[in-house]
Amino acid sequence: MPIMLDVGSGPAVSDQMISTFQQKIDELNTFPLHRFRVSSASQDIDTEPVILVKLIADANQGSPRSNLLPYARVLEVYHAALKNSLEQSSLDSLADYVAHQVLDLFAEERATLSRLIPKAADSAISPELVERIDRRSMRSFKYAPTYHLTFSLFSGASTPSAWDIKAALDEYLTPLLQSFSSISTFTVDTQVQLYASLPPSMRGPVYDSESAQWTLEKADLSGFVNAAEWPLSPSIGLGPTINFILYAPSEGKSPLVIKETGGNSWLIPQWGGIQILNLPAGSTSNSSLLKQDLAPVMHTFADQLVSLLGLPQSPPSLPLRISSLKRERAASLILSASDTLGALSRLSLKLEAIAIPNNVAASVEKTIAHLEQACRELHDGRFQKALQHARIAEGEAEQAFFDPSMVGQVYFPDEHKVAVYVPLLGPMAVPLLMALIKEVKKLRRPNA
């Protein structure tokens, strides 16, 4: 999987520098799915580079150091000033350092892709990384082109009864959603529910007199959501629903925290996140939550949303993580689309009774076409288009497999067929058979 680097720096970038970097990276990179292509910033290339490495000459620097900008795809490398002669050895050492830094950035992506496609694993991955990736995959939602986010305020009593959620969402969450817009779109809706009671099967908050707080055991948290009474029906439309619940306990049960950690928020994998709002004692009289009150709430929700969407935790730059997620999702979509096609083919061979309509064949063709295109785009480094093609391929494959007219019913076991036809054909067959035998005997007997 080729990734492009762009080496832009102050003084003139020579071809020698580029070729050295390319060589070094190719030497160090053993992951078969990643292929790096280094080019200069001044060159005009048709695809956006994944990362831009800026070489900044700093006379005071001894050994080089690097700095990754958290909101841009830029890795700044401060190095000692190169002499004008650009001798090979210093260039080599710099290239070596830069190559190592770049490869470190993509370590988690390598690990994730190795888990996805074990054949392509290169070196052994550390078990903590493996565990982290597994936990992330168990926690996050499967990829969908549209996610529905539902923000709910459940009050144990009658206050707070309103919240300025629209403004809070616009200010705090919409930027994050828009930065994800290249991967999926989101629809958001909110609701308020008063007199929301906790489920009776839960052991209930226990008053802890030392800290003067009500506490919940960690074991209780899994039963916290009162699915029987809280209106948490999934949103209409395609795509999964991610629920975010803000629970404001009644005055008698406030403040409410989790016993073991003292925190007030938790995440339910593949479902959503929950937060308990503990307003300070005096202000529970106000019935409406303002935007300022909702700021820390939105912060937690944003963090939870990011982990529910499966965003990797490293490298520390958000655009790099999003592009890494894009590649991971594209790969997983391609795999899942091919998986579905394989399942469909196996099914068609195993269950002959199912009739497969023509539109399924058309969908299969479309899937294959889009899969090919997706692979090509991945090869060329156009990841956005690869994701789009992979998405369409997945959608078509699912449509082909789940076509509503392929209901394999009406199975007639052979015993039934025998039971129906033998009483009909048997009495017909017996005289015919006897007559046949007689004729044969007559033919055989020499004419007297």
Partner: protein, 603 residues
């Protein structure tokens, strides 16, 4: 009528206070003759149009709101109903019949769509989505059960912001649908207080579905205030029921009616045989029974829903002035009286109960007379054809009444429009007019759509209009019969809209759209149509019969055809005579051996 209009004006007043509170609930109780009780619950909440567009829901339920947005439904009316309203005993229907539904499930909606096909597609999406939300099989409402009524329904909301040609009215009904607790559960989940507090805490499946007549209604409509401020979307949930007091007071663990012990029966002492063990029960018609909310519903009202407006009375009881009523609660509550109405506001956190004791009063409530009495039956016999008979009676002695009569018939019931006859019989024999003003008709197409029949009639004062038409029944295919086919097929009730202005006898046709307020609605009962039902074991029978015929017949016929027949004496070879001869020969040989041996010895 005056009383009800007062209540109506009260509710209208409440709607104008939308800034104060967005949620209102009210319960009206009215004891009816013959020990019946009408309980009319109403819950109303609203949301602003912008909040609705942005999907920020507060009192308006989110699940329903998303369905309405997704299908571009501007106004929705959904009804679940059971039972029959006894108009002779109970008078006019509550709320003018605006919140009544036909037996089973009835749904009509105004859908915003550019073309007819789009409207149909959105309608199908709407029925599917509602079937998932309300646990009812509304996905069966497809093109065979949908009609577009012309003038029977009027928009209740303000649709000035949508262009009228884009609003399509579609109506579907499922008369065979069962209404039970699983339909009540999602209904209660739409309420903000969820049936935990306030009057909704009385709603219980055991009593609600044991009623003589009940309707659950959900109406969503846009309301645009006159001053041009923002439009609101209002959801109005109504549960109206008529309970039989004695039946409801039976304990739930032992509801089987048993005779009272003789000590508890009031005996008619004028009878000659009256004694300690013989009793003729006294006539109790003038006596108003004793009942209380706790006994009738099995539970008192649990506090008040804190979201409601405090100033409006929540429980209104309509009883004659002399009736002895006591409200009981651990906390204090406000009560007042206005004529025949007793108004109560519920206490915040304590249970509230209303108790009435047994009384015989001279005065009784005057019940509003319905404008039209309607009934409908099938006539004829046999499995091929039948007839429909609808009888509409105008009880009023002075004013004529105009009605619109709507029927949506299934495709397998094919009416012949040329047999449609409307005749008047009544007090004035000189009136020879044709009561039928106009007919809107759309014929059925087999297996695709049903018949839509809409008639505009004028019924003169104190007369009865009898509508008849003949129809033919179709034979369905083997796979189209339901699993309980011998029960028959349900035909949806006829919907009758009584137009407000009295018409003169000269008018021949009435413009239907010009009346906005004042119509009342009533529905007849649904009907059960017996269709020719095959014997479903026939495939098995056919197999057995055919096999038997083949077994017995084929062999003989085949032999007749194929075998060559010759005389018995022409045949050589092993025949019966030959066999006998051989056996005889053998016996003779044996005898000869023994006899010969004997003879030899003798010699």
């Amino acid at each position: 009528m005056l009383l009800f209009s007062f209540v109506l004006s009260l509710t209208i007043l409440l709607t104008s206070w939308v800034e104060a509170s967005d949620y209102h609930e009210q319960l009206l109780l009215r004891p009816l003759p013959q020990s019946a009780l009408l309980a009319a619950f109403n819950f109303r909440s609203n949301t602003t149009a912008t909040a609705f567009e942005e999907q920020n829901f507060r009192y308006f339920p989110r699940s329903l709101g998303q369905i309405l947005q997704h299908t571009h439904t501007k106004e929705l009316h959904l009804r679940f109903a059971l039972g029959r309203w006894d108009a002779e005993a109970w008078g006019a229907r509550p709320r003018g019949g605006h919140r009544e539904g036909g037996t089973g499930v009835e749904l009509w909606a105004w859908i915003d769509a550019a073309t007819d096909e789009e409207a149909n597609a959105r309608w199908l999406t709407l029925t599917n989505a509602l079937s998932g939300l309300f646990c009812a099989s509304m996905n069966f409402i497809d093109s065979t059960k949908t009609i577009r009524p012309v003038s029977t329904f009027q928009q209740e909301g303000d649709h000035s912001r949508t262009s009228p040609e884009n609003l399509h009215l579609l109506h579907g009904a499922l008369p065979h649908e069962v209404v039970c607790t699983e339909n009540l559960t999602p209904f209660l989940k739409l309420l903000p207080c969820k049936g935990k507090a306030g009057i909704s805490s009385l709603l219980d499946g055991h009593k609600l579905f044991d009623a003589s007549w009940q309707t659950m209604a959900i109406d969503v409509r846009p309301v645009c205030p006159a001053d041009g401020s923002e439009c609101l979307l209002e959801i109005d949930q109504t549960v109206d029921m008529v309970l039989d007091i004695e039946r409801s007071m039976r304990p739930s663990h032992d509801p089987i009616p048993r005779p009272l012990p003789i000590e508890n029966i009031k005996c008619n002492t004028s009878k000659p045989y009256n004694g300690p063990d013989t009793c003729f029960p006294e006539d109790q018609t003038g006596v108003l029974p004793a009942w209380s909310l706790k006994e009738v519903y099995g539970r008192p009202i649990r506090g008040s829903c804190p979201l409601t407006d405090d100033s409006a009375p929540t429980v209104i009881l309509e009883v004659p002035e002399g009736r002895d009523v006591r409200g009981e609660s651990a906390e204090s509550f406000t009560q007042s009286r206005e004529g025949n109405l007793r108004l109560y506001q519920l206490p915040k956190n304590a249970d509230f109960d209303l108790t009435l004791r047994e009384q015989s009063l001279d005065s009784s409530l005057s019940l509003e007379q319905p404008p039209v009495y309607a009934s409908r039956t099938f006539t004829g016999q046999g499995q091929e054809r039948g007839g429909m008979l609808a009888v509409l009676t105008n009880p009023s002695p002075s004013t004529a009444v105009s009605v619109i009569y709507l029927e949506s018939l299934p495709w397998f019931m094919k009416p012949y429009l040329h047999t449609l006859q409307a005749s008047i019989s009544g007090s004035d024999p000189n009136v020879a007019m044709n009561p039928l003003d106009s007919v809107f008709y759309r014929p059925s197409i087999d297996r695709q759509r049903g018949t839509h029949l809409e008639l505009a009639l004028t019924i003169p004062a104190a007369s009865t209009v009898t509508l008849t038409y003949a129809f033919e029944k179709a034979i369905l295919r083997y796979t189209e019969y339901p699993p309980d086919a011998n029960r028959g097929f349900d035909v949806a009730p006829a919907i009758i809209r009584v137009l407000p202005f009295p018409s003169t006898s000269n008018s021949t046709s009435l413009p239907p759209q010009s009346y906005q307020e004042g119509s009342t609605y009533l529905r007849t009962t649904s009907l059960l149509l017996p269709l020719p039902t095959p014997d479903f074991s026939m495939p098995y029978n056919v197999i057995i019969l055919t096999s038997t015929v083949i077994a017995m017949g084929f062999g003989s016929v085949f032999n007749l055809l194929v075998r060559r027949f010759v005389g018995a004496d022409e045949v050589e070879g092993p025949g019966l005579a030959g066999l006998k001869a051989r056996v005889k020969g053998r016996i003779q040989a044996l005898l000869a051996r023994f006899g010969g041996g004997g003879e030899k010895k003798h010699q």
